[in-house]
């Protein structure tokens, strides 16, 4: 065993030393054992791993959870509070039934992993850890396997119709040393439609996996605001498989957080499907944000779109690794990838690795990665009309992220997040 492999194994041994696989029924135990075996063959990520070149994995690997102070939100209401929604609340990874809505809603079945763990058979068996496994090739994602093996909370959601309200998952962080695993499985039956909202920092260290199967002709919208606790850490995996003519759209807003690694792996397995994934990340100071996206086109005439914007200053780091893989036979693929950063001073860092790998000959794929500063001419134009410098900068920052925000199809949610962003910009100036 090479020294590098040994270090990855040692890191895993340390992490697992005080952990035991949770008890459960046949289906989950099988999935957990398989995940643990996967994990042991991978080890935990090391700094020499190509996939972790831009992001130091040590605090995500560490057996001891790094502390993260709980932010006092004052009188600020949680994101999405004003929407008619089916609300599910988790505090440091623990479900709060007293704060959550009744889980019954027409066209959807919602169960908690904790409640169905002891059963021997469950529909989620076909997806739990299965989409995660598919995402392990070609690049290992050890934290996701760790999650599949050890998560005891999460939602198992089966959507059979067009549901009237969004499912809103609110993660609250109250404990400075909470280490939380959460594993959601969502299946949209053919033709079904659903929106899932997520908000909040969840824990001091949060490891989340969301596996989503979007059946033929189904439509899924995912909108996430990762909370603005400054010290929290998160590693998340979004693993998606899409059928013919399906739609998947995901948007993530991240402001603050010491370390965030958002991975996504989306497979387009049926023709005429569309996948959009976008994000806006804003940070200053001790902030490291990583978007790592892999889109696999396996069927004809599918479209995929990645739009990522980052606004960084005072030592903040943003990274992007995005890949579009077009398999042989995925003709008439339309793949688009854009990753841009706005650096507000000389101390911020943006690292990007855009990749295209194409085996079909009739495709249109493009990628663009840029980094730049505030445009002085635009700034002067605004100021010359009487807009003060700070407001003008904020307007230009909002303008810069607008293309990513536009990926939120529903105007109500988009306005909600734009409003949060404006408040964040104003607060940042006062802090």
């Amino acid at each position: 065993m090479s020294a590098i492999t040994q270090r990855k194994q040692d890191a895993l041994t340390d992490r697992l030393a005080s952990m035991t696989l949770p008890e459960g029924g046949a289906w989950i135990t099988e999935a957990r054992r398989a995940a643990l075996a996967r994990l042991k063959s991978m080890g935990l990520p090391g700094p020499r791993d190509e996939y972790w070149r831009f992001t130091p994995p040590d605090t995500l690997n560490a057996a001891e959870t790094p502390e993260a102070a709980v932010l006092d939100h004052g009188d600020e209401t949680p994101v999405f509070s004003d929407f008619d929604r089916l609300k599910l609340v988790f505090v440091d990874g623990v479900f709060r039934s007293d704060e959550s809505s009744d889980l019954t809603l027409e066209g959807i079945e919602i169960e908690r992993l904790a409640d169905v763990m002891s059963t021997d058979i469950h529909w989620a068996k076909d997806l739990y850890g299965k989409l995660e496994t598919r995402a392990q090739t070609p690049v290992a994602r050890p934290h996701a396997a760790l999650n599949t093996a050890f998560a005891t909370e999460g939602l198992l959601i089966r959507v059979t119709g067009k549901i009237a309200k969004p499912i809103s998952v609110y993660y609250r962080h109250e404990n400075a040393t909470s280490d939380c695993y959460m594993h959601h499985v969502i299946r949209l039956e053919p033709g079904a439609e659903a929106t899932v909202l997520e908000n909040g920092p969840a824990a001091a260290r949060f490891n989340k996996v969301m596996e989503v199967e979007v059946g033929d002709g189904a439509r899924f919208h995912h909108i996430r605001a990762q909370g603005r606790d400054h010290e929290r850490r998160a590693v998340t995996g979004l693993f998606v498989r899409q059928g013919a003519e399906s739609l998947f759209k995901s948007f993530t807003l991240t402001a603050n957080g010491r370390l965030t690694r958002n991975e996504a792996y989306i497979e387009l397995t049926g023709p005429d499907a569309s996948a959009h994934i976008a994000g806006a990340a804003l940070g200053h100071g001790d902030f490291h944000h990583d978007d790592t996206v892999f889109i696999r086109h396996e069927a004809e005439n599918c479209e995929s779109r990645q739009v990522y914007k980052k606004v960084l200053q005072k030592g903040a780091t943003g990274t992007f690794q995005g890949k579009i893989l077009v398999e042989r036979g995925a003709q008439r693929t339309d793949g688009y990838q854009k990753s841009q950063s706005l650096l507000l001073d000389d101390d911020a860092v943006f690292l990007a690795k855009p990749e295209l790998e194409i085996y079909a000959d009739d495709v249109a794929c493009s990628h663009g990665s840029t980094t730049g500063a505030i445009d002085e001419d635009m700034l002067f134009y605004l100021r010359a009309r009487g807009v003060d410098k700070h407001t003008a900068m904020d307007l230009l920052v909002l303008a810069f992220v607008a293309e990513a925000m536009e990926e939120i199809e529903d105007e109500g949610y988009r306005q909600e997040l734009v409003g949060r962003l404006e408040a964040w910009l104003i607060r940042r100036r006062q802090e």
């Binding site: 635009m378 002067f380 605004l382 010359a384 009487g386 410098k389 909002l398 303008a399 810069f400």
Partner: protein, 251 residues
């Protein structure tokens, strides 16, 4: 209204003097024009007055109603009543024209201690003014100047001027890139704003704009100085004989 005394300006990046002692006084209610060949410093004068970066004032003064302009930030100059209609209006993708104008109008009102305009009042006012300039609702919704034609950009400048109601308006080659009809429209917009309490400084290469916006005084600028001033006839002279004769004469 606007008083410029012996203004000297050089470029920040290199040791190159652009303005070499400009003296100019534009009283309230008057329209002054500055003409001059390329590179004479006309646009620089407009930028320095409005506070654009990249220039260093090495001497002289500029005041608006007695207030030292050069000591103010660009937004403070705007709030004090100075307006520059840009030669090349800047495109700002992602910022809606309407949002931009409302932010600007309310920022200036706030700076002057006035109440902000309500959304309804603002909408009413901008719609009426836009209509006069033949700016349709679609243009107001689009991002600032993005995808606007040359003429639309200039009309958008005049719309901003009409909304902000400045005391001192500087028009930097507002005629460039305009066809005859657009020039007429823009000029009518400007003329509608002429009144006893407002002054204009119209910078142009060509006399034809001055057929539409008739100046009280015409100045000729060359090599960083105003070398000749006179009545509207001076512009006709330039049109007929070019700058060369005038400059020789004044040298």
């Amino acid at each position: 209204m606007l008083e410029i005394k012996d203004l000297h300006v050089k470029l920040e990046e290199e040791d190159k003097a652009i303005l070499k002692g400009v003296n100019l006084e534009v009283p309230a209610g008057k329209v002054h024009a500055i003409m001059g060949p390329n590179g004479s410093g006309k646009s620089t004068l407009s930028y320095v007055l409005s506070g654009k970066g990249g220039y260093v004032v090495t001497g002289g003064e500029a005041a608006l109603d007695g207030e030292d302009l050069l000591a103010l930030e660009p937004e403070e100059r705007a709030a004090a009543g100075l307006f520059l209609a840009f030669q090349y209006p800047v495109e700002i993708p992602g910022v809606g024209n309407m949002t931009f104008m409302r932010t600007a109008v309310n920022a200036q009102r706030k700076a002057r201690g006035q109440d902000e305009l309500s959304a309804t009042d603002f909408l009413k006012e901008i719609r009426a003014k836009a209509k006069e300039l033949q700016i349709d609702a679609e243009m107001l919704k689009r991002p600032v100047n993005v995808g606007f034609s040359g003429g639309e950009k200039k009309r958008n400048e005049i719309l901003q001027m009409a909304m902000l109601e400045p005391k001192m308006c500087i028009l930097d080659e507002t005629d460039s890139g305009l066809d005859v009809d657009a020039m007429k429209l823009v000029s009518e917009g400007v003329n509608a704003l002429r009144d006893a309490g407002r002054a204009f400084l119209v910078i142009t290469h060509y006399q034809r704009l001055l057929d539409h916006i008739q100046p009280d005084v015409v100045h000729i600028m060359s090599d960083g100085r105003i070398v000749k001033s006179g009545g509207p006839d001076l512009a006709l002279d330039v049109e007929k004989n070019g700058y060369a004769d005038l400059l020789v004469e004044s040298a």
